[in-house]
């Protein structure tokens, strides 16, 4: 029995030969090498800054008030550890499989498979949910213009934070049906005061957006990078403009009492008249609650940073991966952190945190659309009742989510491509087109995303994106540490700080930096809800079955270690050849 388990463990631990990996990556028959460091920074920013930043800061302010600014630093520092680990491994193992390739090389086949399986879920669920978010942002933009022509098409209801139930006109249910999946429904009140149930039929906007993005990816990685650069330039410009306008409304008094204390229902601050000490109160003015609040807000903000890891999936398409990948990963993280902190500072300076708390319509608008609220409150960027500010923010969110969608499909395809090239998935997934990209897999992945986004809602499954990302982050940090111990000889153009308190023969035995990163990601993992934790174990179980039924038998790494016995005919041929 012990021998049985021992053989299984040995087999699971087959590590990919780094030399083979590097040879694959540099092969002329591989993916076309078209990307530069600047392209990678753009891709990183495209993956990180989505529509969420226009929303998340509001939730952070409710938790931590003005201290939402350091909360961004907390989130950034956890991401930075993972970012350093990705940068080191990407510079030393420049293979396009990202975390999967690193962990396969440093820890073995099964750990690599499990991370890849988690990444498949992260990218797939992420792409579907972002495609739906894209739809919402698109409808929000169209709805705003619709007001100019036909106010009835944008029925104001309190069902959404910003008070607009997009395309939910009870007098004309056709548009709701064509813009929502069959699992979506809404109640809207018609002019006679009667509640009308609206049902979705097909989510056409998401289908169209996914189709366009997939077509661009199939056209080529360089073309995709150009398209991404345009999107990133636009969304960063919009974000900077929104930050600039918010800073112009800056009032130092808003920073006076930085830590929130208020009645949770009414939102009345503890220092204001009308505060009821007997009512439920949220108070984080003391040191420990303040620290807890900053970390809680940091946990919310953390998810605004994920996406930089997808840069490393393009390693094989990068001209100088050893130099450019660390630049792309860390550069995009730094740019995003600066933008996020500026955005948070501008918002808490333009509007006191007390405007964001409580259950009033105004507070919910502030949380749902913080920039839009600040603009509306100050009548900034308003022309004849038309809010240019709100339109800009919605356009920024639309562009942001489109770029994230592109990066998620790009990353997901690269993970499939690498698994297939290693024999762990069917061979057609690693077929390369004349344009030098995996176009068949891209269409397959795009079709998968398109069908799910068009016909389903993910509900609670959306949270699986977070656990997939966190699991990959944790494993990459561990892999970086192990790879230093197992293969200290490999060239590392970029190295992660280790802060090792115990070193043996130059190998880090007790490195504080990665250990802190592992603890940080573990804390975030266990803070996720029970459904997400359980569902991720179910998904891992499915992954183990697929690995057992397909991956184990088709693995190319195993095939190289155990070459198939030659046939008698082949032997005769070999014998017949002259010795060299």
């Amino acid at each position: 029995m012990r021998d049985f388990a021992g053989r299984a463990l040995t087999r699971w631990g087959f590590r990919k030969n780094i030399d083979v990996l590097l040879e694959q990556a540099s092969s002329k028959h591989g993916l076309a090498k078209t990307l530069t460091g600047a392209n990678l920074v753009m891709l990183g920013v495209a993956g990180i800054i989505g529509g969420g930043i226009f929303v998340l800061i509001g939730s952070g302010i409710v938790q931590a008030g003005v201290m939402v600014v350091p909360a961004f630093l907390v989130a950034a520092s956890i991401c930075a550890v993972a970012g350093f680990a990705y940068a080191e491994l990407a510079s030393s193992i420049p293979a396009s499989g990202s975390a999967y390739a690193y962990i396969y090389t440093a820890m073995g086949e099964l750990p690599g498979w499990m991370v890849a399986w988690a990444l498949v879920l992260e990218y797939a669920v992420g792409a579907v949910s972002v495609a739906v978010a894209c739809r919402n942002n698109l409808l929000a933009v169209v709805t705003q213009f619709g007001h100019l022509f036909n106010p009835a098409d944008a029925v104001r209801t309190p069902q959404l934070p910003n008070g607009v139930q997009y395309f939910a006109n009870p007098e004309n249910p056709f548009w709701y049906g064509m813009t929502h999946s069959p699992l979506e429904s809404a109640v809207s009140t018609n002019s006679a005061g009667i509640d009308v149930n609206l049902h979705g039929f097909i989510n056409l906007p998401s289908i169209l957006i996914v189709l366009i993005v997939t077509a661009i990816l199939v056209k080529g990685t360089k073309e995709s990078a150009r398209f991404t650069a345009v999107l990133v330039t636009l969304k960063v410009a919009i974000l900077l403009f929104a930050i600039g306008v918010a800073f112009s409304l800056f009032n130092a008094h808003n920073l006076a009492d930085p830590l929130p204390c208020y009645n949770t229902g009414t939102g009345v601050p503890c220092s204001a008249a009308g505060f009821d000490p007997s009512a439920p109160t949220y108070d984080v003015r003391n040191f420990l609650p303040a620290v807890a609040a900053v970390f809680a807000a940091g946990a919310i903000m953390f998810f605004a940073y994920i996406g930089f890891d997808s840069v490393s999936t393009t390693a094989e398409e990068t001209k100088n991966p050893k130099k450019d990948l660390p630049v792309g990963i860390l550069g995009s993280l730094i740019i995003s952190t600066v933008l996020y902190i500026l955005a948070a500072l501008a918002l808490v300076g333009a509007s006191h945190w007390s405007m964001f708390v409580g259950n009033s319509a105004a507070a919910q608008l502030a949380v749902g659309e913080p920039f839009g609220f600040v603009f509306e409150q100050n009548h900034a960027l308003e022309v004849g009742g038309f809010s240019i500010g709100a339109l800009l923010v919605r356009l920024g969110a639309l562009i942001g989510t489109t770029s994230v969608l592109l990066v998620l499909i790009l990353g997901g395809v690269r993970v499939f491509f690498n698994m297939s090239r290693d024999g762990l998935l069917p061979a057609w997934m690693s077929r390369i087109s004349k344009r030098g990209n995996p176009s068949v897999t891209t269409w397959f992945y795009g079709a998968f995303t398109l069908v799910l986004a068009g016909l389903l809602t993910l509900g609670a499954a959306v949270e699986l994106v977070n656990i997939g990302t966190l699991f990959a982050f944790m494993m990459v940090i561990i892999a970086t540490w192990l790879f230093r111990i197992r293969r200290p000889d490999v060239e590392r153009p970029f190295t992660m700080p280790m802060w090792s308190v115990l070193t043996r023969k130059g190998k880090p035995i007790l490195p504080l930096f990665p250990i802190l990163g592992i603890i940080g990601t573990l804390v975030l993992i266990v803070s996720l809800d029970k459904f997400t934790l359980l569902a991720s174990i179910t998904w891992a179980g499915v992954g183990l079955l697929v690995y057992a039924l397909y991956g184990v038998r088709h693995s190319k790494e195993a095939a190289e270690r155990f070459p198939a016995p030659t046939t008698p005919a082949a032997r005769i041929t070999v014998i017949g050849e002259p010795d060299e």
């Binding site: 099964l110 309190p158 919910q364 179910t538 891992a540 690995y547 184990v552």
Partner: protein, 222 residues
């Protein structure tokens, strides 16, 4: 140490299958139980962890069950008490019959005043000929509460009823009706009835706000 591939593949596949099946069977049956724990799940009740659900609140104005009728040929009052989240009161004219003859008698004018709570009283004057335009209401704005966190819909409604911003309580709305008939344009000819009569019925209905709670939909935050 065996050096055939299947000596390694077989135990790896069998053990991975066993672990996979255990992982699936050990978790899949609990997924429905914990579904509502997820912040993205749209559930009417909190999950097993007891974490409150965020509900969006939409306010619907509903008629209170009790109403008053002021049916009069002269003057009358009506009164209705509404217990709940105050929305106001409305008056409709259900019947109005005036026997005044054109050219002989002036039509009667009915004036009503609707008041209650701290709302500005509403006064309207009409004749039976324009009774359809006589309806009126005094209204409290819907409570400025669009979100509530609670374990379930019932708890959410209870929480809203106790919220100081929703004006829950009892308010009495009063309807005062007076009827006057201006003097006729000419003396009544001999042989014709001199007194015209009027019968008017006004309905006074108190209104309350009812909260409709729907789980708050969460959008992707990326």
């Amino acid at each position: 140490m065996p050096h055939e591939r299947h000596h390694h593949d077989r135990p790896a596949a069998i053990l991975a299958s066993i672990l996979g099946v255990v992982a699936i069977l050990g978790t899949v049956f609990f997924l429905p139980t914990f579904y509502c724990d997820s912040p993205s799940a749209q559930c009417d009740t909190a999950g097993p962890s007891g974490k409150a659900v965020d509900f969006d609140v939409a306010w619907a104005k509903v008629d209170a069950t009790n109403k008053a009728v002021a049916s009069t040929g002269a003057a009358a009052n009506g009164e209705v008490a509404v217990t709940g989240i105050q929305a106001g009161a409305k008056v409709t004219v259900t019947d109005c019959t005036d026997t005044a003859r054109a050219g002989l008698q002036q039509p009667a004018t009915i004036t009503y005043t609707l008041s209650g709570g701290n709302l500005t009283p509403l006064s309207k004057t009409f004749t039976c000929a324009d009774k359809d335009a006589a309806a009126g209401e005094i209204t409290f704005p819907a409570p400025d509460v669009v979100k509530v966190s609670a374990d379930d819909v019932t708890a959410g409604k209870e929480s809203l009823a106790n919220d100081p911003k929703v004006r829950a309580g009892t308010t009495t709305y009063t309807l005062k009706v007076t009827v006057t008939r201006p003097a006729g344009p000419a003396p009544s000819p001999i042989g014709l009835p001199t007194d015209a009569t009027i019968n008017v019925t006004l309905n006074l209905v108190g209104q309350a706000y009812e909260p409709n709670l729907t789980p708050h939909p969460k959008e992707a935050t990326k």
